[in-house]
Symmetry: C3
Subunit: 247 residues, 3 copies
């Protein structure tokens, strides 16, 4: 059983956070809210999303799992105006999701969850460096790095006490340093890892420019990005595996 009413904006933010990595996903409809975990086909980027029942106007579920085509559901959510409510109702018999937006009813065929790539377990990593940064600074770093390279290094200089971003191209380089005065907070720790810029560009699309992002980093370790959605009633974690750096 699943029936819920949610603002179009919250629904869109939720879907966009996942669709930057995968086309289809399983959604766990727990009593306490939605949960989505997904990994891209190359097993490099992962997402873990929770949206509390309190983020909905109304929410009732008893623990089922549905499989959805994300771009299709995004298109439907895109039919609603920013302030409009979207009503979702699962028909257990037909395995279809009935979506109501102000008189409009869309009947969406669901995907068999067993046909969707298995959900990843995001490992608990004890990463030594922890940076809290504004989303817009991640955007800036990613766009600058993209001008010169396909890779981006993220690291912390414990001596100089700053977080840095490095991208080295064939002829040009980009370097960004953000000290404690530029960051919301900075916990120093040995950290330097290289990442594929393509993945970071995709994740960046869903990171809110005006929100806080917690970045956890290590030495040749995955990076984790945490941020809130739905005014704190939901949260997203991205994990991105590092590229092996040639000596």
């Amino acid at each position: 059983m699943f029936t819920a009413i949610v603002s179009a904006e919250t629904l869109r933010t939720t879907l966009d956070s996942v669709s930057v990595l995968v086309d289809e996903c399983k959604i766990h409809l727990t009593e306490d809210g939605l949960e989505i975990r997904a990994v891209d086909p190359a097993n490099v980027g992962m997402v873990d999303l929770e949206l509390e029942a309190a983020a909905f106007e109304s929410y009732e579920a008893d623990g089922g799992i549905i499989g959805v085509d994300l771009s299709r559901l995004e298109d439907i959510a895109g039919m609603a105006d920013a302030g409009q409510l979207v009503q979702l109702e699962l028909d257990e018999e037909t395995r279809k999701l009935h979506i109501h937006i102000d008189g409009l009813e869309y009947t969406l065929a669901l995907i068999d969850p067993d046909s969707i790539r298995q959900e990843p377990d995001l490992p608990d990593l004890d990463l030594p460096a922890r940076i809290v940064i504004e989303g817009r600074d991640i955007d800036r770093a990613v766009r600058a790095a993209d001008m010169v390279s396909d890779h981006i290094a993220l690291g912390v200089d414990t001596a100089a006490e700053h977080f840095y971003v490095d991208a080295e191209g064939d002829t040009d380089d980009v370097h960004l340093e953000l000290g404690p005065e530029d960051l919301i907070s900075l916990e120093l720790g040995e950290a330097h890892s290289l990442f594929s810029l393509d993945y970071l560009k995709d994740m960046n699309k869903a990171i809110p420019a005006d929100g806080e992002v917690v970045v956890e980093l290590g030495e040749e370790f995955p990076v984790k990005f945490h941020f809130d959605i739905a005014e704190g009633l939901g949260n997203v974690t991205y994990m991105l595996a590092p590229r092996i750096q040639s000596e």
Copy 2:
């Protein structure tokens, strides 16, 4: 003889209403105003447009017919700012239209009207259902249907007393119901017909979102859409032939 001055906005609205269906058309320059009738090459969608002399700043004509390339004339009208006036003057000798916009003169070669597809006669149909609806609701229905199908059914449920839109895709369906409280007016009558969405999407481009549209419907009959342009000093009728529904 033909000489007229018209606001760029009125000229553009007039041309756009016709160009969604055809590339070229004949314009009748009657004493009382402009008249355009046209049908698309497949004989499925028709337009009948009238623009009264009163919609012009000044207007003088004595009954000639000119043939125009609509996209070319739209480009010229697009050179004017929203508030600017466009002056049109026919040179009978050269069969060219002189178009003046604030010091700029464009000399447009006309098309021989005899080389343009014959004008249709829009049949007088006594359609049983008549719905008056806001343009934005047509837009909504068309965009939603477009997500699932190439066809769209329009109909009236006389028992439930509402106008409905249906689109059935391979896996997903869209259904929109608008009752008397959602419509400007509703005259009940047996009506259900299937239409090509491509044509309706084209017509929808020219239907004003914030205007009233009269929809006339029957059982497997053409649909007619009527709406005003130029603040009521002109009007447009579209007629769209139904698709034969397979049993």
Copy 3:
């Protein structure tokens, strides 16, 4: 030695004025400011640009020359917000330009100036007609001419006392007349020359719509366009060679 701080807006305007004609250019870093001269590969359009030291927040140079990839430098300048400052610093050893924008450092490899097309000498021409016109009127003329032709004639009718623009297409023509009341000033002189519209369209992209442009014209002679940038602390001259008119 070269080190300077300049607003992102002034830097972008400067680069855009040159990049409409060439991909790479030499920049002369004189004590008094920047100087750029360049000609397109076909030797038809030339640009001569000066930006005074006073247009910078700070400026120090001793006469060197650097070669730059304009689109790359434009991309970097595009990273800055409108109000932000861009710091430029030349590393003479590595022949790299260090560009700082609020914590972001971009290291740009320069191009060997000897590998860049030789700079033109813009001839001193004593052109008989001189028109001072608003940039937006040049834009209007160019866009209208572009609807009918690949060429555009600019001229002065000394008898009727106006500046005119003519474009003749296969079927349609465009004619624009601007008299003393439409212009900022008009010095009459025999003038009529035909130009390639492609070049004029490119130059038009960099001509400020709300600025004054001085146009100097003759009989089958090049045209010169002069306009200010950086609030009068810089100026640009374009020269465009005429097309030979067939009799």
